[in-house]
Amino acid sequence: MFDIERWQEIFQTLSKNKLRTILTGVSVASGIFIFIVLLGFSTGVQNGVKEKFSGDATNKISVRAGRTTKQYKGLNPNRRIQLKNEDLDNISNTYGDYLEYKSGGYSNWGAQLVYKNEFGNFYIRGVDPDYQFISKASITEGRFINQGDINEARKVIVVSNKTKTELFKGKSPIGEMVSVKGVNFKVVGVYGDPGGEREESQVFIPLTSAQIAFNGGTNIRDMSFTVAMSDNFDEAVAFSQNLVASIESDLKTKHTIAPNDRSALRIDNTLEKAQKIYSLSDMIKAIFWFVGIGTIIAGIVSVGNIMIIIVKERTKEIGIRKALGAEPLSIIAMILQESIFVTMFSGLFGLVIGLGLLEFVGPTIESDFIKYPQVDFYTALITVFILVAAGTLAGFIPAYRAAKIKPIVALKDE
């Protein structure tokens, strides 16, 4: 392989047969190039889709109570189930290790928010500090509800960008007083929600304040949690389903609800919704891989084809070389070394061009559905090696046959 004499011989052959060399090179390089670009855009589309749908926490569990529909342990149906602070505390104590964020919620009405002469309908929600992360609200001014607010049941409120525009006409609302059902709250923060307008119709006050101000006692309307995401999506789904199941059974035991009563306790797991997005992006990935692999196969076939033609064209030359004392092995080695060199060189060339295109053109693409197209360098490199290996194999068969040709047959005058 590192025989300099043989390399000289090969370079001479390649440079004296430029057209053949270039054609082989172009077909390999373009195959790899197309593959890289496809793979890059597949990643881009996946990134785009993920970002598009990442508005809501993808691992959110929410628990809501309703009325029983089934008779259970001597209790009548149509009994109202009321969640309490202690339910949240119990769950936090039992499953604290698996839950990332947790928050109770007390908010069963839409109410008017009044600021001076302006007013608007908003959904007032008493929450815990963690809710900021559960709802993926991003603070644009001031701060969110904190633990101090909860402990002291302060009358503070976090309004949305929408509120700021509608009630405060765009000026900073921090420090201003607003009233909800006659109770005054001081604005401490403004949040924005990636989900847009609809989500921004909520305003947040501390859970404890909501319970006191609106005579809720220790009642809570709902609970939300997020589950720490594991890298493997299916694992995350399975894990959070298990978690949901045990939380459900705990609560049902405590509130004496029939295990099969679905409307008394509603537990939603948004991870299942996220799964659909993930499987969509998996699907896109699969399609691009399918097309990409098709391209590679086409590349292999065309390299193989070219090799067969090259060997056919060189039959006489091979005969001459054999008559002059070339051993069969040296004929095979010559043809293979040539083909490996050409496919490797042009494959890497196509790789560099493809990666270069993604590197320089990728960031300039302005589309919601294509973001950061890129290719894992090792995947790309492995592809080149696969193509080279397959091209070599495709070349080996005709080369082997050529080496077996008797010189007398090869030299026969046409």
């Binding site: 004499e5 000289q8 011989e9 001479q12 052959t13 004296k16 047969n17 006489k316 030359e317 005969g319 001459i320 070389r321 054999k322 008559a323 002059l324 004392g325 070339a326 051993e327 069969p328 092995l329 040296s330 080496a403 077996k404 008797k406 010189p407 007398i408 030299l411 005058d413």
Partner: protein, 233 residues
Amino acid sequence: MIKITDLHKSYKMGHNSLHVLKGIDFHVKEGELVSIMGSSGSGKSTLLNILGMLDEADTGSYVLDGVPIKDLNEKIAAQYRNKFLGFIFQSFNLINYKSALDNVALPLYYQGLKRKERMEKAEHYLEKVGLAPWSHHLPSELSGGQKQRVAIARALASDPKVLLADEPTGALDSKTSYEVMDLIQGINDEGKTILIVTHEDDIAHMTKRIVNLKDGVIIDDSKVEQVRAKQNV
């Protein structure tokens, strides 16, 4: 140099078997210039191919320079061809993308010589056939006679024991043929053993011995008065 005893060769053509060589006994001493004659189908090319290890005999023995040529695998055959034999073909069989010099150097490449040494030797043999000024020309830029000279230089390059020429003048006009024969005679004068297959009488009479083949057997094997090609040029 060459000892052939009771050589048989037949080819299978579908269901029929064609018996081409029917017991050839044939000896060539060192320094001989022998022509093998015969009409087409007489088996002369088959004989040459067997002598050249391009083909194998069915039965009989072939000893070349004391080495029995028998049951050769491809690798050994290639090595023997490289070491013992130089080929000259009717259609020259030069590699068309290589220059005259590179063509001559090719057998030396398969002998494992370094490039510099190859080029020096190749240049020497090109000079010997009078083509030094054309060393960097491609075969397509050379005339038929020049091509055959390149082929002869190539056959000589590996310094073989025997030169085998298959109708070396078959594709050339008579003037060029005599020039080529003159070159071959010159090489023979230096002591090289040469076998020529031809069907031309005048070419045959420029050798020292004519072997006549007919229907796979030698019907005549006699020494002749050599006609020097130079007289005809």
